[in-house]
Amino acid sequence: MDFRRQRLLARLALCAFAAVCAVWLWRLDHRERISTNILDLIPSGERAPEVGLVRGFASNVQSRVMLFALLDPARPAAAPHAAARAFVDELRKAPEFAEVQRPADPAAQDALGREVFAHRLTWLLPTWLAARERAFAATGRPGEQFSAWLAEGAAADLEAFLARPEATAMQDLLPQDPLLLVPSLADRARLLAPGGAGAAGRALVWARLEVSPFAEAGQGPVFAAVERALAAARAVQPGVDLRWSGINRFAAASRARIEAELKGLNLVSIAGVLAVSCLFVRRISRLLHLLPVIALSIVGAWTLSTLVFDRLHVLVFVIGSLLSGVAVDYGFYIYMQPPLYPDETYGQKLRRLLRPLLASCLTTVAGFSLLLFSELPLIRQIGFFVSAGLLCALGAAMLYFAQLDRPQLEGREWGGLGGAGAAPGWRRLVRVGLVAAVLAALLGPWRLQWRDDVRELDLPAPELHANERELRAWFGETDSRSLFLTHGPTLAAARARLDAFLAWHAAARPGVAAASVGLLLPTEDDWRALPQRLARLKGFAADFRAALARHGFTPESFEPFFAAWEAQAARAPAEDFAALAAGLDRALTGPLALLSQRGAAPYWFLSVVDAPDVTAPEGLHTLGLQQLQSLNDLFTRYRWSALRLSLIGLGLVIASVFAIYPAARALRIALIPAGSCFFVFGVLGLAGFTLNLFHLLGAFLGVCLSHNYAIFSADNAERGTAPPAPIRLSALSTVASFGALAFSRIPVIHALGATVALIVLTALAIVELEPLARRPRA
């Protein structure tokens, strides 16, 4: 094939690839396919059910809640309730909101109270009767005394209740509920009551979004609706101010921060790379030829990744933008290699360079491909993104430079530190330094401290977090309580497990209140046993009348209760426990509706314990929600998984190098990246730094880059000459660009940038100092 035909084919291939990528990315629904939700970093099919539960709870339930507080600075003591009503009315008009409530509006509580009271004998009586039966069994008395014992106890409880503050409020109910089913529930459920007691002078509004707060529909339109509602509130009370919080505010801020960081850091990176290029390249303008290679590499990686994955996290693109640092290496190497002889054609030059190029690219791709076996979607996506990008970069570099008549960029050679002329003192100093580095690399990593905190995946937004904390405090949330999710494969199982958890809690912490909306339902066993239990209590009405009289009551006042009791005893048992639970749907609205999942698996009930830092033991199928510990543990597990894969990948890369090169050269190529990595980790360990999963990923990337430099500088090292200009240019460009990322305020980017820059700098230092440390050749 002649040169012109080769060039044409290469051009066609490049253009076709660019066109396909451009069309695909143009038509892509970016909002839908790119996630900013931190919870998307956790696999939806996470093998630990608790983690999946937390993920579902946080992404489907918690994230849709928005909290508002209206206040009038001119009248700090008076909550602007009228303005809040106007605010709510306006907000309810927005289709983005599924539910809007004022905790001060008693309508929802009235509705709940009416439903509970109406269903007290089906929802509450089974639990009450089962508990009494168990208590009676513990007395060891004969069964025929149960009715009288039950009646006496109920009358005594009623008498004691009348001294409580709420007795006067309940007095109209008591003739219908002398067993205190509703008052007992109200007493236990007080922990679930809407907050607001600490919000003096503020009118609170609670809302639930219909749309996802992570999607555009849950941000811009919602913010506009909030503005309209505030205007409506100000029409009623002009001085009113609004404080509000929601996940959508965090998501929008996160997106804005990432965009701003990317713009800023990329500019700094470009400036750094240009400065480095000025040192090594005579004609800077010719560096523009590298841009198509980098662009095609990144565009190819985006296209292939979005083709393979349904949904990618935005961090993949942020981290993936670092790919340019690797992609540029192949361009530098091909472009800056001088011809071996004057008439060497591009094809001949490429064939000459193919071995190191393929060795470098394929071993790196093999290493990153191992990340595809990670449990963490983010790591899988990064592994694929980088692998695809590297292949695209190599292909694009090989095809692009075929377009140039003279694909040759002259670089400045600065000479090396080695050689026979080097002073012996310098040589000794370098050797001592290398020995110290080896010691640091061997000993330091053992002192490393690892800590994985899921919050580091998120962007720091201290103002929004402070605002959120304050609003939640106004809504009654407090650190002095612990939250738990009790879950089960069926509703009945979840309810039974809730019983077990509450029984454990009552025994473990007597006197500490615990509440759950699950208490509104009986367990399925108690519910099914109710007809038989009532059948065994045929004499209870007479016993209870007598007991009431003995305790100073007028039994005839309680006829409404006796009528309801008889009706319940005569009622045929219902068949379906799920239908019984469905009755709760009418009762539970607003915040209370979010305290359980009763309609579909995974079924769960949320419990509140009136004590901080309570942890539930294993086996109760109950997960504490008070901390992110479970997610942090998960990320620790992922880090170990990533570490295993990285070490396997490193082993694979080293094995490949030994397969391709002679042993001595292969050993050098393997030692430079591995030694750089262990040295950096050693220094960080000795300095007391705490690392996380993303330092590990950065190290993997850094090792792959260093691996390139080790391969590309192998010939020069054998000759004892300075490393070629492309190596220096590439390494220093990488240090400049990744070093800029180390200044990011996003913890993940900071970790990656700092680790890669340090490892690459170390590798370059080794490549530069290596000739000086060697014994001079005679």
Partner: protein
């Protein structure tokens, strides 16, 4: 309303009717709170059908603050010093033959608020201050009142009673009064029917400038009586007392 609960403008050293009113308030506040939980529909009751027999149009006080017969008493019915009293509360229920009797202590610190300590039959503390209403049980567990418009309305109205802020009271209540020698009685009938159903009629009675009894009457068989006694003024409360009985 910071530091204004039971605060009197007059620098009187005489006892004030604030003593013991809190015992009544405990029930009233609780009423507002727990009716919400039970979700019972509120039935409107015409204010004119007063369950207190003597309350009538004849003894209505259109403006007691300017009525020479009542002005001095009203001026003195608010404390400006720390006080502590004992009380006995009798709760009458329609389904019970005899009242339930509760006893306890009331403490008032004008700049802090008011605290009611029930001693029998069950120890419990109720605190009314600028932050609202708070219950504290024997183990120290606290339960604040929720944000609810009815509870807030009840709280606001009753704080006005505590402060004897007649201007505000006259917006919420129709005030009636009668005197018999040194003995006097004031009755507060809520103007809002739903509020009347919630509170009933509130009466305060005493002799000279001393408060002796508070009653809340919904019906003859549904009422609460609170007798106040052993009032001490200018009591020095210790730090421990503040911690236990206030917040």
């Amino acid at each position: 309303m910071k530091n204004r609960i039971c605060h009197a403008g007059a620098a009187s050293r005489r006892p004030s009717p604030c003593h013991g009113r809190g015992g009544r308030l405990a029930a009233i506040f609780a009423l507002g709170w727990f009716v919400l939980v039970a979700g019972q529909p509120v039935r409107a009751q015409p204010a004119a059908d007063s369950p207190v027999g003597w309350v009538s149009e004849a003894n209505r006080l259109p403006d007691p603050a300017r009525d020479p017969a009542w002005r001095e008493l009203v001026d003195r019915l608010a404390p400006n010093k720390t006080r502590q009293s004992a009380f006995e509360e009798r709760r009458y229920f329609p389904f019970r033959k005899a009242p339930v009797v509760l006893t306890g202590e009331i403490r008032i610190v004008p700049e802090v608020g008011m605290s009611l300590r029930y001693l029998t039959p069950e120890e419990r503390v109720m605190i009314v201050d600028e932050q609202g209403l708070l219950f504290r049980d024997r183990a120290g567990r606290e339960q604040p009142a929720p944000e609810d418009s009815r509870a807030q309305a009840a709280t606001a109205a009753l704080v006005n009673v505590l402060r004897f802020d007649l201007a505000k009271l006259q917006r919420e209540f129709v005030i009636h009064g009668r005197r018999d020698g040194a003995a006097w009685t004031l009755a507060f009938v809520p103007r809002e029917p739903a509020f009347a159903q919630l509170l009933g009629v509130l009466t305060v009675a005493g002799e000279d400038h001393r408060l002796r009894r508070i009653e809340m009457v919904k019906s003859p068989s549904q009422r609460i009586e609170i007798d106040i006694r052993d009032t001490r003024e200018d009591v020095l409360f210790t730090g421990d007392t503040y911690r236990r009985f206030f917040r």
